[in-house]
């Protein structure tokens, strides 16, 4: 059974039922079936009115829960979001971007979800609506582990919320082929620059730990750095939160090393963009 509620209240009511699965773009739900039958009951949020797009109100940006990656690419948003947009372009293919949603990506909570590092770097918060009302969680608290989120039964994400701060977004993804590729590692960053030097760096790495994570030690070390200092600082910074594993895509040793190269390049990408701007 597939329900297509036209209001949040209707959606919440439907979700209170046993075993109802939320469906958005379906790009994780359907592959996850592995040729098995679909869940008996699905609640489709992709057509919920007023849920699509990135909007700004009261100094806060909201990414509606039905916003697709293609919507994100086309959104009229400041350079703060450049990392998210670059990530959006790297999600699968045009077909996947047209259906898959930003919210679905974080719910899937894959260590290799490309949306997560840029959103972590944006200090994104997740707005949840459930039978008990609205709550907000930092994205880093929402994703608790691989394939594990703080979403409670009967709850849904209404929006991803991002404070409007100065900064330039950047993103780099490393994969073994050009399109349709699961990341070996990826880095999202938001860098604020004053007079050519970093005033604030927010950097997150994916696919190098069970859950994508920020690099606080490095962020501190980068404060005040100029473009020439970056490589050195990144090469020597402590990154205790990273614990890469070996899998079919790459060895752990490679990930540990390559991620520093990626981080350096991502930070420089942001700083160059600031220069041009």
């Amino acid at each position: 059974m597939l329900h297509r509620p036209q209001s949040l209240d209707a959606a919440l009511a439907l979700l209170s039922g046993e075993g109802a699965v939320i469906l958005a773009g379906g790009t994780d739900v359907y592959p996850g079936l592995r040729d098995g039958p679909p869940p008996a009951t699905m609640v489709d949020l992709s057509a919920l009115p007023g849920f699509r797009g990135i909007t700004r109100a009261h100094g806060v940006w909201r990414i509606g829960a039905a916003t697709t990656w293609s919507d994100a690419i086309r959104a009229d948003v400041p350079p703060l979001f450049d990392g998210l947009k670059l990530a959006a372009r790297e999600v699968g293919s045009v077909q996947i971007q047209n259906a898959g949603t930003v919210a679905g990506n974080i719910c899937n909570a894959s260590p290799a979800a490309d949306g997560v590092p840029p959103l972590l770097a944006l200090d994104a918060e997740v707005e949840l609506l459930g039978p008990e009302g609205v709550r907000r969680l930092a994205l880093s608290d929402f994703i608790r582990g691989p394939r594990d989120t703080a979403l409670k039964p009967g709850e849904l994400i209404t929006a991803i919320v991002i404070a409007d701060t100065p900064g330039q977004g950047a993103f780099l993804k490393l994969g073994a082929r050009k399109y349709l590729v699961i990341s070996i590692a990826m880095v999202g960053a938001v860098i604020a620059v004053e007079d050519g030097y970093i005033s604030r760096a927010r950097i997150a790495v994916g696919a190098c730990s069970a859950v994508a994570c920020r690099l606080p030690e490095l962020e501190t070390a980068l404060r005040g750095a100029g473009p020439r200092d970056i490589a050195e600082i990144v090469a020597t910074a402590a990154m205790p939160s990273l614990a890469p594993i070996s899998d079919v895509r790459a060895t752990a040793a490679y990930r540990s090393e390559a991620v520093r190269t990626l981080v350096t390049r991502t930070v420089l990408q942001a700083m160059e963009a600031c220069d041009v701007a």
């Binding site: 597939l2 359907y30 045009v94 077909q95 047209n98 349709l180 790459a250 490679y254």
Partner: protein, 908 residues
Amino acid sequence: MSLDDLEGRIGFTLNGTAIHVQAAPTARLSQVLREQAGARDVKVGCNAGDCGACTVLLDGAPVCACLVAAGQADGRRIDTQAGLVANDPLAARLARAFQRHHAAQCGICTPGMMVAAVAFLRSGAVLTEASVSDALGGVLCRCTGYRSIIAAVLDVGDGAPETEGGVGASVERLDGWAKVSGTERFGDDVAPEDALTLRVIRSPFHRASFQFGDLDQFRDANGLDLILTARDVPGENRFGVIPGFEDQPVFAIDTTRFKGEAIAAVIGHADIVENLPDFPVTWEELPATLTPDDAQQAVLLHSDRADNVMCRGYVARGDAAAALKYAAHVVSGDFSTGFIEHGYIEPEAATVRRVGDRIEVQCCTQAPFMNRDGLARILGIAPDSVRILPTATGGGFGSKLDLSAQPFVALAAWLLRRPVRITYTRAESIASTTKRHPSQIRMEIGADANGRLTGARFDGTFNTGAYASWGPTVANRVPIHASGPYLTPNYEANSTGIHTNTAPAGAFRGFGVPQSAVAQEQLYDRLAEKLGMDRLEFRALNCLRNGDPTVTGQVFDTGMAIDACFDALRPHWQRVLREIAACNAGGTRRRRCGVGIAGGWYGCGNTSMSNPSTIRAGITSAGDLRLHQGAVDIGQGSNTVIAQIFAEALGVPLGAVTLLGADTDLTPDAGKTSASRQTFITGNAAKLCGEALRTQILRLGNVGEGATIHLADGALELAENGTTHRVALPRVEGYALEATESYDPPTTPLDANGQGAPYAVFGSAAQMAEVEVDCELGTVKLVRIIAAHDVGRAINPALAQGQIEGGIAQGIGLALMEEFLPGRTENLHDYLIPTIGDVPPITSILIEQGDPHGPYGAKGLGEHCLIPTAPAILNAITHACGARLHHLPATPDRVRAAILAQTGGAGR
């Protein structure tokens, strides 16, 4: 609104027509479009978003229909390839551009490609190679290498079609319009509505023993029509492709030998089969052997094969040991490659019906007659009681030679007397069908002080998996080819096929030769370096020339044109070397450019074995000319090429030829589509057939050799010296005139040292690859590939180019990203094949010096295309950054590790 209100009735506008379908709203839209709405131009290659074959426009935007819930399409507009081509002039122009550019080979990816391209073209975006790639990056193609697809999208204007022309003309594919307009029918597309569905129950372990529960109870409780196990096989419960090596059971008995092996099958209504509870079987996992290293000590997979050795191959000439001992320069190394999955976008599919005491099998296949004989043996009936009707085949590359899904459905249809269908899931296809053999190779090559090769020694171990399949062919072919197309006076090559508990390794474009080329061509670079010689010149000096003996002692007086391939590359090579020197001098140490070169060769047809093809043609009383063309076209173009050769020999325009077949009841045996044999062998049969028919016609009209033939209504018009005779065709049933001709290439058996003439024709090739290596990350970007191929004569140059580009793309995959790990990469997101962004521009150079045996001088060209690619890329990586990759694939982590290893861990 909730869809329960609609009671499963979903309404949408499909290709401009409003329709309603009765379907579960949670079902995948792709399935509903195909099964309920009749839109079989929507293809399913993976059910996971990975291949893009199911791409449709949903309210104008391309999406994967396999990831959309049918109910999500309610009230919306859906456009598919067939509808777009019929209704939108832009799509119709695109279809014509696809035809002109030969952008559809097998055509299974074409619906997805074209739908994605239409959305892109409609968007008004600037047309560049990069923008086209971004737009089509979500659709995989395993045949074309994508270059022709990019060219077609960039050239969507109104070019003139090329539909006429004899040998040497790049005529459009005769069977192409169906592929670009959405009417082509592949394996799963022909299944009738009333067919029952079959699902195979497979081993979840690499090796296991098993016991069934109460099968009858399970069948009855679930309303199944039938459950099949080994005891239901009326004939022999085994099949295979090499006489004496038919060792694979249809259903395993008591123990399974690889993960994915079949033990039973369930047959019933699709709804029942797709929603079954767990099958009643208990498994006991047993210790398994996955690599040849462990296999010698392991439990025997087949009791009659000691040490788990399936078979060996051997070729020796001169005294290799002495030559290497006294050589001025010797290089040696160990190399390995993994399992490679064919990755055709069409999974195996078949529909079978029983007609009286005969059985009719519609399936995608490369070898209808072998399939026929194999099925007859399993069913215990005569071969002519089996009719194979090949559908369009959405890629094969060697794996669709073997029986896969057909035996299950044939058994079920035979017993139930009802049509039964099956289509493999992607996971099932990858887990259970044949693979390219993993190789472990040790090779040693020596040269004298002047750079002349003196000897080579080769030792290759090939993991042949649980069953023989084409393993014996690999074991035989490799020693013959491992020298490469070079004069190697002293030579000794051993090959061994070892059984392990993995999917059977079988035929994959090259039968082991691409693996041996990885070793030999890399060692050649090291030898050239030791000698201080240019890498191309070293190869050009040593390559086989007419009159030189091969390592089996075979001497070609004409037709050996590998030297011409190197000559053709020389100016490009020298230019690129200069460019790269400049680039690396000016650039950073982080980004390094390199160029590599490699040669390759491949004997067309079976090794030292009779492998004839037969072609039949006839003219009806009404004057219709029909060509019974049984050489299965799996995308490589035999329907077009064989017809071109036949029309040329008969002396009629191509448009006068009507193709029949392939159909084992209608078309004589043209052998299997493999080993680059169809253009050469069936082409010769077609030429003989055309000539024989021509002789009959000229005799009938009593005109001379030079007369021109025109097929008119009920008559032949024969023109000679300005006068035209009209000869009425006899009024008969069947054909008024007909001819059947066969061709079998002249070969001789090999002696104990592998000496003899294994092939009548070798094709050869040389390719150079330009790369950019990101030395910090170990990523490799291909810049351009230039490929010179000795094709004898190009019957259809555009089709030849298509083979080259497609082969190169597979070579790129072999070099950089592909490796099947049993149980771990059974889908198309963990098993990576090149996408449209991974294949660089390719320049094809066709060397046409003719071949004495080939029809109009043509050689085969299937396997040759990928043999030099991987080593050329690996040599380019070394040229760029110094790192040598002995173990494939050269993924970023391995390239980076190799860079670190040679700089002592310091990085660059």
